[in-house]
Symmetry: C2
Subunit: 418 residues, 2 copies
């Protein structure tokens, strides 16, 4: 008799997975390796930025009070007493009628309180004139105007992107305290599987899920160990799963989670004493997606169908890994788009349709990426988003507004609301 | 006398750069290294997908004609003559009243033309009954329904993402023909610069642009050589630039492109015989961005101001590198968002404002990420997009629709239209 499984809503499945995504602790790494990691502590300004009043232009540092009354008819002259390149400091203060030639980024000399741009002067040797008054502070980048000493700039849990790196460098973080990343194991199951370099024979197909998941992890910058492919043999598969769990923080298997005679993962989870969080999700593709927990490690039993496998990874595995890495925004960003194709048949399960979003003069339009079955592989190679069609008793027609989830986006959102 | 430079529009500057982004040829790489690379040849289906008629479910393969007249009152019985697991093939055809037990993904046996799911049967030992007729082809995944032998699936020039990897694996591409990637040199100039691990002293700041650009290249998966930091000394700088050009395909320098006394890059380009494409762009930040070409190599003279440097890289360097890599969609994706803050002062230059986009019930809203000057570093550490405010004689107010460019997105668009 076939086992009857009770499907749970996607949001509930996400919640269950996230409850068991345990952080792995922190580590210090060199700044140059920090791109894509998650800040383990808040980034506080260690000093004012800029650290001193400085010139935002190439020009002359002057006292604004010396410019009073300047006009086209009555140009005010200044005497240049020296030059300050960026990285240098003036050797003395300026006095009435004096100016330092000053370069962008250089420290404003004592007594100066305005900068005249070269373009605003008529220059002669060691002197220049101006034709307008300058106010106090004009053309000066003030100490602390960008960030104040001690200010909280970025919260812990934020992804470190190139801009974050710039800020970390500014404050001298040669090493950064980041959350540890999991090592993920990948094991493809199925007697029908051939290696990528093998010739097709009747009844067999090449393993596309293994390489795909490696690329999904590459995209996230996550290390993995591949445990190759295994035929549907219970004992050897169970042994390999047990070994993989020993050696990794998260295990992803593909295939073996349906109700067929050789779908051994449920039995393997039972043998190992893993707690199954769910084995049926009200979604298409990927309804057989099964997630279990053993010794605080998540075991993702993804479908052997490529579309289902891809979707299961992006919906469940990716946010779980990001949460283990300490991310506060682990979910794919979403937006609203206009549907460009009918999906008239209602479905009791939430559908996730691989699609291409584009900005048009009428707004964002989402177009399905092609053949749309859980076994599809061609459509997952196209497109940049997933259309979400909620479960229910009605279909969807061209022009309706639907939610889309963006794939391959660096930054995420904090909540799963679909 | 200060040199007067003529600003060119951003779109023109982009066009000039892209004209000089020369592809570097192709290479074969292992599939497992192909994520993020660009397909150098079209991806054609090497065989049908699926390669044979197969079962999409766990159930029984039958002849549909044997189900005629089945109903709840008149259940039709079948005799199970064997089992076909995925990866196996039936040892004989089926005849009238016979069925093979069949697993998801397995090849449909000869004479069978429909699959009955387990849930649709009442099973006894070696037999089952059904209560409804099945049509020919019901519950069968047909050979070639996903892709046909010889079909063009993905064009050359496409980014290889995880879905592409799945498709390449399906067709046995153990090696992939991809466009070569450039090696990029990075050289930070400025006497004011300290290394990340150095203590601040008056007039000096730490080098944030170098590490930031490394991370911008990391994000693209591009290799680089760092040439460190150089004080504003013409001769030594010129020598280092010449060496870097020898050793790399693209050179990025930061600083030294304005009109100050120690802005040596223009003179270095002249000495080396490089052709300057432009040295002033009608944009803020980054108006001093200078791009030159020498021996078919692009030399990006980015501003030393962090915000300007960041923006110059994303607008010019990134699409140029992607084009050298063969990408047909090198530009940041864009969409329309509602502005959440006033920018009332008109500007003769196009402004690029670092911002955060969010999906709200009222649509996409873009909120500036903070302190907005070309020298800013705090704001580039926040946010996920750039708001584009066109040049002109009027300002922008809350609620207006503006274009935004998405940062850190895997996929791009083919045209620069702003």
């Amino acid at each position: 008799m076939v086992e009857i499984r009770k499907p749970i809503p996607v949001a509930h499945a996400v919640e269950l997975v996230m409850k068991h995504a345990y952080p792995l602790g922190n580590e210090e790494i060199p700044l140059e390796n920090a791109y894509g990691r998650i800040l383990a502590e808040p980034l506080l300004a260690k000093h004012d930025v800029p650290p001193f009043d400085r010139s935002p232009y190439d020009g002359y540092a002057i006292r604004s009070e010396d410019t009073d009354g300047a006009s086209g008819d009555s140009r005010v002259p200044f005497r240049v007493i020296g030059e300050i390149g960026a990285g240098h400091v003036a050797d003395r203060p300026i006095n009435k009628g004096e100016a330092f030639r000053i370069m962008t980024g250089a420290l404003i000399p004592e007594n100066a309180n305005a900068v005249v741009m070269f373009e605003q002067t008529v220059e002669t040797k060691d002197a220049f004139t101006i034709r307008k008054p300058f106010s106090k502070g004009e053309n000066i980048s003030f100490k602390g105007e960008d960030a104040k000493d001690g200010e909280l700039l970025i919260d812990a849990g934020a992804l470190i992107h190139p801009g974050t790196i710039a800020l970390l460098a500014t404050f001298g973080y040669a090493h950064v305290n980041v959350a540890k990343q999991p090592v993920v194991g990948i094991l493809s199951t199925g007697t029908e599987l051939l290696n990528v370099d093998e010739e097709l024979v009747p009844g067999k197909i090449r393993n596309s899920n293994g390489p795909m998941i490696m690329a999904q992890l590459d995209r996230m910058g996550i290390d993995y160990k591949s445990y190759g492919m295994h035929a549907d043999d219970l004992d050897s598969c169970a042994q390999m799963v047990a070994q993989a769990i020993e050696e990794t923080d998260v295990l992803i298997t593909t295939g073996g989670v349906s109700v067929g005679d050789y779908d051994h993962l449920p039995l393997i989870y039972e043998r190992l004493g893993a707690k199954v969080l769910f084995n049926k999700v009200a979604m298409r593709p990927g309804s057989v997606t099964t997630v279990a927990v053993l010794d605080k490690k998540l075991l993702f039993g993804l479908s052997g169908n490529p579309s289902a496998c891809f979707t299961g990874f992006e919906l469940f595995t990716r946010p779980a890994i990001l949460t283990m890495m300490g991310a506060d925004k682990p979910y794919m960003p979403r937006m609203t788009a206009e549907l460009s194709e009918d999906f008239q048949k209602p479905n009791p399960f939430t559908r996730f349709v691989r699609a291409i979003w584009e900005s048009t003069p009428d707004g964002v339009v989402a177009r399905p990426a092609g053949f749309n079955k859980s076994s599809a592989v061609s459509s997952i190679a196209r497109g940049n988003c997933i259309i979400v069609l909620p479960s229910g008793t009605r279909g969807f027609t061209v022009g309706m507004k639907v939610d889309i989830l963006l794939l391959g986006a660096e930054q995420g959102v904090a909540d799963w609301v679909l």
